[in-house]
Subunit: 323 residues, 2 copies
Amino acid sequence: MTDLNEMIIPTFDDVIAAHERIRPYIHRTPVLTSSYLNELTGAELFFKCENFQKAGAFKVRGASNAVFGLSDEQARNGVATHSSGNHALSLSYAAGRRGIPCHVVMPRTAPQAKKDAVRGYGGIITECDPSTSSREEVFAKVHAETGADFVHPYNDPRVIAGQGTCSRELMEQTDGLDAVVAPIGGGGMVSGTCLTLSTIAPSVRIYAAEPEQADDAARSFRAGHIIADDAPETIADGLKVPLKELTWHFVKNHVTDVLTASEDEIVAAMMLTWQRMKIVMEPSCAPPLAVILKNPEVFRGKRVGVIITGGNVDLKKLPWMKG
Amino acid sequence: MTDLNEMIIPTFDDVIAAHERIRPYIHRTPVLTSSYLNELTGAELFFKCENFQKAGAFKVRGASNAVFGLSDEQARNGVATHSSGNHALSLSYAAGRRGIPCHVVMPRTAPQAKKDAVRGYGGIITECDPSTSSREEVFAKVHAETGADFVHPYNDPRVIAGQGTCSRELMEQTDGLDAVVAPIGGGGMVSGTCLTLSTIAPSVRIYAAEPEQADDAARSFRAGHIIADDAPETIADGLKVPLKELTWHFVKNHVTDVLTASEDEIVAAMMLTWQRMKIVMEPSCAPPLAVILKNPEVFRGKRVGVIITGGNVDLKKLPWMKG
């Protein structure tokens, strides 16, 4: 890792080390193709299916790298985070595999199913009020009381190096790509993709796909500095969080473009994937296919990797069931 | 094939020939595992995922074997069938690949989505009234006018030999099995499984799984002769059809037991598979997992193949959305 203006920037050596470290705890997920979707888009699409990953999402890569990179002394107090999504599940899973505690601060308003899932993986939940100030206050208390290692969902070099193992596998599993498209929220997956591809396949273009209704990364990309949204609302609930300095570093330096899709386009792409590929994936996975369908001039004739980031969806609340 | 009391009984040589014949037109579908479901059932489960098959179902194996086994002269007039389900889709797909017409007789009350799907694969639909007599009358007319080759959805030796390729792959993809569980409707998949396993792995027990509300195979199995239900109603809509003489031959001779599950158990098993395995499968695929969960004494400690037969489901009408 290199130290840049007080930020620790992970390097590709960190990705290689992460891959060795986490290999026993993660799946090498399959890459699926669909002749129907190839015909529809005019591109050749390679779907890296992290919905089949342990704990149901790519985030287990970064979380496992953080957990298993701790010294025994550091690990003794466990790990801690604030998240109500896949990072909480993934960190709980990884900590459980190592046999150390995982403390998760979650708003008390989070769905019961999410709380149950975190507890199912052995996570210890401390509830906060559904506000940033309460979350920070409660997290600081938990952190101080437990001495646990804080693993941020994405603004952490260990997490980004872990996420970088996904596109490393994708490149091994395909015979060359022209582009990779990944959804962007906080930017952990996109940063890991940038880190890996800028080293091993620098000619591959990297596109980030984002909901129009949470387009902070697109606006940041055009403005040249981080712009955070104020409480965006989108069906792609994993993509509401803003970029932070570490992920912005990668987006700014390596992403070709940030493309956006409307809510309707996201739901249509999600439904199309379920119908045609017969896989269960989250709404947050759908923006890449949505932007590929929306921008045929960018992708037609190209070999395109698409990261399907996770499959933890509430089957009783599917977006096309509305109304 | 051997001729038994005027029935043409396919042999394992027919399965080998079918496999060669259909290989260019079908997927060798993956076998997935789930550590969660293994823990839950106490068995080691190997899911053969025919939901990822061409046209979305195993039925494309038998349909392709029938279509590509025709001589050029026989093929000229195309093929014909009556079905509103996966056989109609699969036969249309296979005929399209060979470039010959496929005539499908369907009740005019069939969902528009199914008609569109058949037409999407190039099938030519002739509508009938939703009664057996109308279907037979209209089919006889279409058959006479076109001279097309009739490919029955399951009571056809070419179809059964084609379905037998599925368990042949499953045995190649796993390191030995104690049992295989497949859903049973008309018995095409179960018969193909019996045909293959009785030759290449005769110690593997074969279980057929069926909805309690359409338990004609279970009752036939106990009675020792075919009993057909009168218009059964079940969420597993692919399993409503009765056994016929050819499939009964295989069930009677090679099936260890026919186990049944209630509608609630089927829906629960379906939802569990979607949630944990992140795959989209039809209600008709769920009875095998339901009976494994229901009869732990039969399956615990065993290595069990489970045939996931198809993934063509109406995402806007999922069974857990009721009420």
